[in-house]
Symmetry: C3
Subunit: 127 residues, 3 copies
């Protein structure tokens, strides 16, 4: 159910983007009970200057290897699960895609089970 938007700057090749998507997905399956086959992602690669970031906010050094991961999912995960999710995304982004932990920004937006249709015009989560 999560719908994940990943935004990066030029400089990440296609294989890296796929590996990054995989990293986020695997982290969700491991930490917040997302099924293996519940994969929906949009990955956007932008020209220089179109992903804008502060290079030092909260003491974290960032550069143009920056990755924004925006997750929309149903409410219900605990704070501890979210903390585990952030850790695991960051670990796997490094292992699988070579993205440095300092360059991974994550944001979650929550909705409800009735807010999803996975095809055929049905609200599968509440049927």
């Amino acid at each position: 159910m999560p719908l994940v938007r990943i935004d990066v700057l030029d400089g990440h090749d296609d294989d890296t983007l796929a590996a990054l998507g995989d990293a986020v997905h695997v982290a969700m399956t491991e930490t917040i009970d997302v099924p293996d086959d519940d994969l929906f992602q949009v990955i956007n690669r932008h020209p220089a200057g179109r992903v804008r970031y502060d290079p030092a906010y909260l003491g974290v050094r960032r550069d143009d290897g920056i990755v924004f991961v925006a997750i929309t999912m149903r409410a219900g995960r605990t704070v501890e699960q979210k903390k585990a999710l952030y850790r695991r995304i960051t670990e796997l982004a490094w292992e699988k895609a070579g993205v440095e932990p300092r360059n991974v920004l994550i944001s979650i937006t929550e909705n409800e089970l009735c807010d999803w249709s996975f095809g055929e015009g049905l609200a599968q989560m509440i049927s």
Copy 2:
């Protein structure tokens, strides 16, 4: 008021994208009381591999004709209205744009009336 983001892969031509936008908009006017002239959409067409999806999650077969429809709107619609919205978007996407029902994924995120400005720096919904 809804702000709609539609993401598709290459292979949908410009006319199809416009028809798809129309389908989503008309469905909203018919099922959730969106005014005819309350139209705000961003349509993104991505290179191969950048819209990632599982081809069988929840028993629905999907392919590269996949369409993600992400709707941000004020809270207040009932579950029955949302179900009707999903059905109607899917019907009209097929009728108007030739998008198969199995390929339509929909996600809703809600906010409040005070969370919108429609120009001139005003919060028109709460004035």
Copy 3:
């Protein structure tokens, strides 16, 4: 912490887009207590027809100079703060980027402090 998505049509040059991003950021620092160095934005420039809008909804005239500003931030700002934010974004978009007030659409989506990681896999807002 806000993650800001800005969508425009072709016709805005690179300098205008950067100035527009600056306008939104400065407005947030002035009206809703966003720190100066809390800057995270994605700016997308789209081909003709991909940002769709009604040219007169609520009596505001819009044209292809349209700008969608979608802000995700933690809950807690008052209605008065949001009104001030809309006014200030619109003023600064005109002053800094030459974007007309009638062409600025703004939408806010809120989440919680635990919904953010600013790098290193940490949930800095709740540590």
